[in-house]
């Protein structure tokens, strides 16, 4: 059984304007998958649908054997905790320190304080920011902010890490560091889905590449390249 299955997904934000048109693919547990395509192709919509931030017009998304449209509102927080998300604009809270920005992911599930004190330094160490724990986001570079966002996404040990254009706002060296971290996380068994239009990164990693153009899935290749 695949971990994630997109079955004949169609999504419209405006009537008769299809952002995704009959898209189907599946992702196995532990895979590293790029979803590529030009701006407006529908990459972010794939992620929004997976997070159930948007309703579906038709089709089914199956996560661990369960249709996510059937998840009850009270079950949604638990579902969201299975998916760590990293965004292009980091979505960090400027008023909180790096430590607190990560800890918030655990506080929302009323985690034990001792557990927070153990987990937060561990994930900060994984992204190489343990010595920046008391910094505020405005004191960090773009790459460092993205690493904090990754640490926060990892705090409750998600089954999947989703990165939506995670390298879109940072310099190439920092982008390489981010990708290295994502590979490391993937090597530890977490499925990584990265939406990107960064050709350099996609070509460098030679992972599975799902290409979407004008809402349609145009190619799905293992060891793929951006233009292959």
């Amino acid at each position: 059984m695949s971990q994630i299955e997109f079955k004949n997904i169609t999504k419209e934000y405006i009537t008769d304007v299809k952002v995704l048109d009959d898209v189907s693919f599946s992702i196995e547990k532990g895979e590293f998958v790029f979803i590529i395509g030009p701006s407006g192709a529908g990459k972010s919509t794939v992620i929004k649908l997976l997070l159930r931030e948007e309703p579906l017009e038709s089709g089914e998304i199956i996560f661990d054997g369960k249709n996510i449209s059937e998840i009850l509102p009270e079950e949604m927080p638990e579902y969201r905790r299975k998916i760590g998300v990293v965004f292009q604009d980091y979505k960090l809270l400027d008023s909180k320190t790096v430590y607190d920005n990560v800890a918030i992911a655990l506080e929302v599930v009323v985690a034990d304080k001792e557990e927070i004190k153990t987990v937060v330094p561990n994930v900060l160490s994984l992204v190489g920011l343990l010595d920046h724990a008391e910094y505020y986001p405005k004191e960090l570079s773009g790459g460092e902010k993205q690493r904090v966002a990754i640490a926060r996404a990892l705090a409750h040990e998600p089954d999947i890490l989703v990165a939506d254009e995670a390298t879109g706002m940072i310099d190439p060296d920092s982008a390489d560091e981010i990708v290295e971290i994502l590979e490391k996380i993937n090597s530890l068994g977490t499925t990584v889905i990265m939406a990107s239009h960064d050709q350099r990164i996609v070509d460098k990693l030679t992972k599975r590449v799902i290409k979407i153009e004008k809402g349609k899935l145009v190619s799905d290749k293992k060891g793929g390249k951006y233009h292959a």
Binding site: E74, P77, R80, R81, V85, S95, V109, H156
Partner: protein
């Protein structure tokens, strides 16, 4: 609880201007509500006092002597509609006349007790009985004239009922306005923390976890504002009590004949305002945060 209190303190410190505006808007709303309830009760009390002055005066013929008036009075005392009966003899009438006209000695010289009629003043339990009683007394033997200021009493009653009904409707409207003010005030506070809520939902926060700080904040703002408004209404009613404006106390339209001290009334009103503050804060913040809870 300590974490919620800490969050609230951080918010109050960080958003001083917004905090001030919340307190002002909510405080003024509760104060207006409190003053409004006060005005209704004061107008009801004034009308009750005026109604209490409403009476029938029965004047007797000269040949109808005191020996016959006293049994007439005693018969009235036993009537369940009657609250108070006062006998004014010819001598009493002269004394009252002299008190009223003490600056007119010429007039007083020409008046003696024999020319003034003896009378009985009657107050009823319910002013609606005045007219029927007046008609009955007019038929009695020995009665020269019955004076009953029907128009004035009817006007009292109309004004009293109008103030009561309009007042009750306006209090309900004011509650709705207070609720809207609180919801919009809290929504402003919540919108300013939109990114924090977005992150919370992103990392899988449950609805109660997201809601709790805002409900705590909403209840804190509205209860504190209601308390401040209560202090001002207590001071107002304390002043009325000290100046002894209403010697018997305040009255309510729905509780005829019941009077309570202005200070006790203000304490009850404060309790009502604080409970309203709690309920409006609780339900208002719930409504304000609702749109952030949709999955």
């Amino acid at each position: 609880m300590p974490k919620l209190w800490e969050n609230l303190r951080t918010y109050l410190k960080k958003e001083k201007l917004m905090t001030l505006s919340h307190f002002l808007v909510m405080g003024i709303t509760f104060l207006v509500l409190g003053i409004f309830i006060n005005v209704i009760v004061l107008s009801q009390t004034m009308l009750r006092y005026l109604e209490e002055q409403a009476q029938i005066t029965v004047f007797f013929k000269d040949e109808f002597g005191e020996d016959r008036i006293i049994p007439f009075r005693d018969q009235l005392v036993s009537d369940e509609r009657v609250a108070e009966v006062t006998y004014v003899s010819k001598e009493d009438a002269l004394r009252i006349f002299k008190e009223i006209n003490e600056d007119q000695p010429v007039l007083l010289e020409s008046i003696s007790a024999s020319v003034l009629p003896a009378s009985i003043e009657i107050k009823t339990m319910d002013i609606s009985d005045l007219e029927a009683l007046s008609n009955e007394l007019g038929q009695k033997e020995g009665v020269e004239e019955v004076r009953f200021y029907k128009d004035v009493i009817e006007r009292f009653r109309t004004v009293s009922n109008t103030v009561y009904i309009v007042g009750a409707v306006l209090v309900v409207i004011f509650f709705v306005i207070s609720y809207s003010v609180i919801v919009s005030s809290l929504r402003t506070a919540i919108n300013s923390r939109g990114s924090e809520l977005e992150v919370m939902k992103l990392v899988g926060a449950s609805d109660p976890y997201v809601k709790k700080p805002f409900i705590y904040q909403g209840v804190f703002f509205s209860v504190t504002s209601a308390l401040a408004a209560s202090v001002l209404t207590i001071l107002l009613d304390f002043g009325l009590s000290k100046w002894d404006v209403f010697s018997k106390g305040f009255s309510f339209g729905f509780l005829p004949g019941v009077f309570i001290s202005p200070v006790i009334f203000s304490l009850i009103l404060s309790l009502i305002l604080v409970i309203s503050g709690f309920l409006l804060g609780y339900f208002g913040s719930n409504a304000a945060v609702k749109k952030y809870l949709k999955y």
